[in-house]
Symmetry: C2
Subunit: 297 residues, 2 copies
């Protein structure tokens, strides 16, 4: 994995640490409650690290539109909670049946399937609670809540997961694969960017372009994920590789080949960068896009 320059690495680390602190702040401990287990289980996955890319995109767009990270903190926690819930449910035996996530046993391996199902439910719900209980009610909040709900539901992430399940052991075409990933991964990226722009006070054009950028890096992220599954280092990634082939899944690599997938990643990269023109000095996002492109090289 080629990393960029030290400056970007430091900046990414800084933002990840900031987001981790935000998540810690909004994730309750449940001390003294008889249902304490579920708090521990949710925290186990939510606080298991990761680069917090969704949160970083949101914070970055908010800043680029003139806002501050504190203007979106509850939304940052919320989107990472939704991401964490999707990982827990995705890893379940009846779904992807994964034992390992970010180098640790998956949630149901530690807490059992029943608590894992409920932890996912609890995190999705907590995402909305976190925003509702910590944001003042105004048009920006309400609009952002709509974006969040649209992205995570049946028209967004959950819808993408359904297409994913129904595509197993089937040969799907590039259009279907793109539609699946636009929903499954892209939708949360899209909401992250738009919410960042909305809460930061961006123009309608900025909100729209933020969304466009996010859709492109959502695809880019997935293409490089598929490439990493072919020749990534399991230990470095913290999850098993070679899973797509094992599960007979259609991927960008299986449809386009390694060279074709790399080429498509480059195209998404170019289009993502193009969408940043409305923003002044989007250095961090440019570097993030480069990072997503290069992580499989």
């Amino acid at each position: 994995m080629i990393l960029l320059n030290d400056e970007f690495n430091i900046e990414l680390k800084e933002i990840t640490e900031k987001i981790d602190k935000i998540i810690d702040y909004y994730m309750p401990e449940g001390n003294g409650l008889p249902q304490k287990t579920i708090f521990d289980s949710m925290k186990y996955t939510l606080s298991a690290g990761g680069k917090r890319i969704r949160g970083a995109i949101m914070a970055s767009f908010c800043k680029l539109c003139g806002g501050n990270i504190t203007d979106v903190s509850p939304f940052i926690a919320a989107i990472e909670m939704i991401h964490a819930y999707s990982l827990i449910h995705d890893d379940l035996p009846c779904m992807d049946d994964d034992d390992l996530r970010r180098g640790k046993p998956t949630n149901h391996k530690v807490f059992g399937e029943a608590i894992a199902v409920l932890s996912g439910d609890g995190l999705l719900n907590l995402a909305f609670e976190t925003v509702l209980n910590n944001m003042p009610n105004n048009d920006k909040t309400y609009r952002s809540l709509k974006e969040l709900a649209a992205a995570s539901g049946i028209y967004g992430m959950v819808g993408g997961q359904v297409i994913d399940i129904e595509s197993e052991n089937k040969k799907v075409d590039l259009t279907t694969l793109c539609e699946m990933h636009e929903k499954k991964t892209g939708a949360l990226f899209y909401a992250a960017a738009k919410i960042g722009c909305i809460m930061g006070g961006g123009t309608e054009k900025q909100i729209e372009d933020g969304g466009k950028y996010a859709k492109k890096i959502g695809l880019l992220f997935q293409i490089t994920d598929d490439l990493l599954d072919v020749y990534g280092d399991s230990k470095m990634l913290g999850k098993n590789t070679g899973q797509d082939l094992k599960k007979n899944k259609s991927t960008f690599v299986s449809i386009l080949g390694i060279a074709g997938a790399s080429q498509y990643a480059n195209k998404c990269y170019e289009e993502a960068i193009e969408s940043l023109k409305e923003f002044e000095n989007p250095k961090f996002l440019i570097n993030l896009t480069k990072y997503l492109l290069q992580r499989c090289k």
Copy 2:
């Protein structure tokens, strides 16, 4: 099962039909979408009937506070969606492992476990989408959304389910049993009543008393449910009976005996009725409370 008078039966049937129509209106079909399956799966459970007690409580309190059913329609659909999601996840093999619900095969029996998990996720999410996309943003909506989210999450329904799971094969005391049911069943009833009062324009005292009433009938509902599990008619109930004993669950019957549980049901009934004093002519709710008390007789 002794039913009340014809008048109440007609009124309950009318409100159930109204709520079914509201649910149909807000439940999208997903026609033409590649993830159409999940729409069918969600609808399978959401539209499988039931008395719509949560929706009926909400509609009734709204009317008693001077509002109209149209003032709360999206919230009625939302609370029934949340209830339906909880049934789907509750019935999963890793949870209660039930094959039969309202006389039909449970969701995962028809659609498979993966789609059932996602349908639950989808319905919870859709509940928030339905309100956000169909209610104007104002203080009443925002406050009601907070009530909804609080009731369905880790401090409410999900929390109750966790206590339930952890109580299996354990002897729990009456306090724990009440706490579990106050969360697991009572919380949604509580939110239904409060949202009805809030959206109907009720006074703070009415909102509070509506909540008190709902907590009591939540308990009443559960006690009579436990009694029905002992000597109810499986065919009439549309689900298997004798499950609590089979699963070695602590119930109001196992702790208090049949006579003690019946007595406790009467006490909840009295306290529920007492909480309705702030409302003018709450005939439907009084009859509903009687119905909940008498359904196990």
